[in-house]
């Protein structure tokens, strides 16, 4: 099995300086499911030791899994990145 880093290295991301995902992790502290952590194909969501959620946006596939599985209203605000930025597939 290839490493996750190697896997993600195969994808082109034109990263914008502003995040298109925002997580309000005061809400996540009360979440018992935390589906985003296992479901996000890019593994962008990481639990922190104090019960919060740390997230990245740079290697986002822009698929929408995270907000669809999020069962806490308003925890994940998700939008598309600025035009021309974000993931760029070539062989998919």
């Amino acid at each position: 099995m290839i490493s996750f880093e190697r896997r993600m290295d195969s994808v082109e991301f034109r990263i914008h300086s502003e995040a298109h995902i925002v997580v309000d992790d005061t809400i996540c502290r009360d979440c018992s499911v935390r589906g985003c952590i296992t479901a996000c194909p890019a593994d962008l969501f990481v639990p922190t030791s104090d019960g919060g959620i740390l997230f990245n946006y740079e290697q986002c596939f822009e698929c929408g899994t995270c907000y669809l599985v999020c069962n806490e209203e308003g925890a994940i605000s998700w939008n598309y990145p600025e035009g021309g930025h974000g993931v760029v597939f070539h062989s998919s």
Binding site: M1, D43, F61, G83
Partner: protein, 444 residues
């Protein structure tokens, strides 16, 4: 907005007759039809080029293109023509495959093709541009412009980014923020969605030809069931020219609750004894993921609003019904119908929901909604426990018992084997009869 060079004049306030959001197969087909009818149409794409945000599970069924781009197969960027189609049921170390091949699918007018979506979608968008559509890339639509409840344009993330038109076609993909903003979607239920993950794996062309027993530009598409552990879903593997693609489709709620990560499940599939020899020695060229509107007919939004129609994945027009996994053809079909319906509504001068109602009627009378309605139960059956867990185990078990020679024990009769496997796998006769009946009705 500055002036534009429309063939036909539109009303003073409008920059274009129509705006199409999203230059995927649905959007490009809609723009192509509108431009061909002489309408001024703006096609807006948020990626740097059409198709840059798109991935899929492998096969484009091109029959729908015949009317849009005659002889499309001579110019479309196709990787291989699928002449060998397999359905594989597997358990941990067993696999039972139905393998069909025909040379007929390898010559015009062909059946299914594999392609890279960035190439294919760019090609189709170019066709729309050739017909006169205006394409603007790297532009994200951020919302709808409305006038007393009626959609009159879109706003984009560019400076001075508002643009107005008499009708907006939302072909903005599975997340369709536009259809949601227009109030066309009800409650969004994650159970209606799956996520697809895929690895494109580079292998020399000769190795692919050898491993999959195909020649030239012929290729293979394998649909797999029983390969996703406790998470309902399915797998696929198909050949491109010098890459193969292997991927999984996974139910969102089960994935979120199950604690298994998508790439772990994919790695397990690649290690399965039936799959490992096929992918061995390849280098991962690209990893990709996308959400799929799995539930089909039952999750579709209202297709038409005042000044807006919805097409393609944005309208959940993706058929994930086990035996059939189709999406690009439905996108093109719905997009083309949207384009024609909008042209008709523009001609009548009525782009309200009533005036655009022809869109739904066109879809109802075509394969797009006929197939979806006919197969509306199929996604639930395919994602059910019987199809996911018991059927693969039972089928593999029956095959193993039938073909295992147990000398000096005499051969068991088929009915005895089936009964034994049903007992082992906890399948009740009553549920089999019931599900078979449902399946016959669903697929009939």
């Amino acid at each position: 907005m500055t002036e534009h060079t429309a063939e036909r004049p539109s009303s003073d306030n409008d920059d274009f007759d129509a705006i199409v959001v999203g230059a995927g197969p649905a959007g490009s087909a809609a723009a192509l039809e509108l431009a061909r009818a002489g309408r001024s149409v703006l096609l807006i794409e948020r990626g740097p080029f059409p198709g840059s945000k798109n991935m899929y599970g492998g096969v484009i069924y091109g029959r729908i293109l015949d009317t849009l781009v005659p002889q499309w197969w001579t110019e479309a960027p196709i990787q291989r023509w699928v002449t060998r189609r397999q359905t594989m049921m597997m358990t941990g170390e067993q696999a039972l495959t139905v393998d069909y091949r025909t040379e007929a699918w390898g010559r015009p007018p062909y059946n299914g093709a594999t392609a890279y979506r960035p190439d294919f979608d760019s090609w189709l968008a170019d066709k729309a541009v050739e017909e006169g559509a205006t394409l603007v890339c790297s532009t994200t639509v951020t919302g709808l412009l409305t006038d007393s409840g009626r959609v009159v344009g879109v706003s984009t993330d560019r400076p001075d980014g508002d643009v107005r038109a008499r009708v907006v076609i939302a072909a903005d993909g599975v997340n369709s923020f536009l259809a949601k903003e227009a109030g066309l979607y009800g409650e969004v239920d994650p159970a209606n969605y799956t996520v697809g993950v895929k690895e494109t794996i580079a292998l020399p062309r000769s190795v692919i030809d050898e491993r999959f027993a195909v020649r030239g530009d012929h290729g293979v598409d394998i649909e797999i069931i029983g390969c996703t552990g406790d998470v309902p879903g399915g797998g696929f593997l198909y050949t491109n020219s010098d890459t193969i693609a292997v991927g999984l489709v996974l139910s969102l709620p089960a994935l979120a609750a199950g604690g298994r990560r998508p790439e772990e499940l994919l790695a397990e599939l690649k290690l399965h004894p039936a799959i490992a020899p096929l992918v061995e020695g390849g280098e991962v060229k690209e990893y990709s993921a996308h959400v799929i509107p799995e539930a089909g007919y039952d999750m579709m939004p209202e297709l038409v609003g005042d000044g807006i129609v919805v097409a393609g994945d944005a309208a959940a027009m993706c058929l994930a019904a086990g035996l059939w996994l189709e999406g690009v053809n439905f996108a093109i079909g719905s997009g083309a119908a949207a384009g024609r319906a909008c042209h008709g509504a523009l001609r009548k001068g009525d782009t309200s929901a009533v005036g655009l109602g022809d869109y739904r009627r066109r879809l109802e009378s075509s394969f797009v909604l006929k197939d979806h309605r006919k197969l509306r139960e199929a996604p639930h059956l395919v994602m059910g426990e019987l199809a996911q867990q018991k059927l693969p185990a039972m089928a593999c078990g029956v095959a193993e018992d039938m073909f295992t020679v147990t000398n000096p024990e005499p051969k068991a009769g088929l009915m005895r084997i089936v009964r034994r496997q049903m007992r082992t796998n906890g399948v009740k006769l009553r549920s089999v009869v019931g599900d078979t009946w449902r399946a016959l009705r669903a697929f009939g």
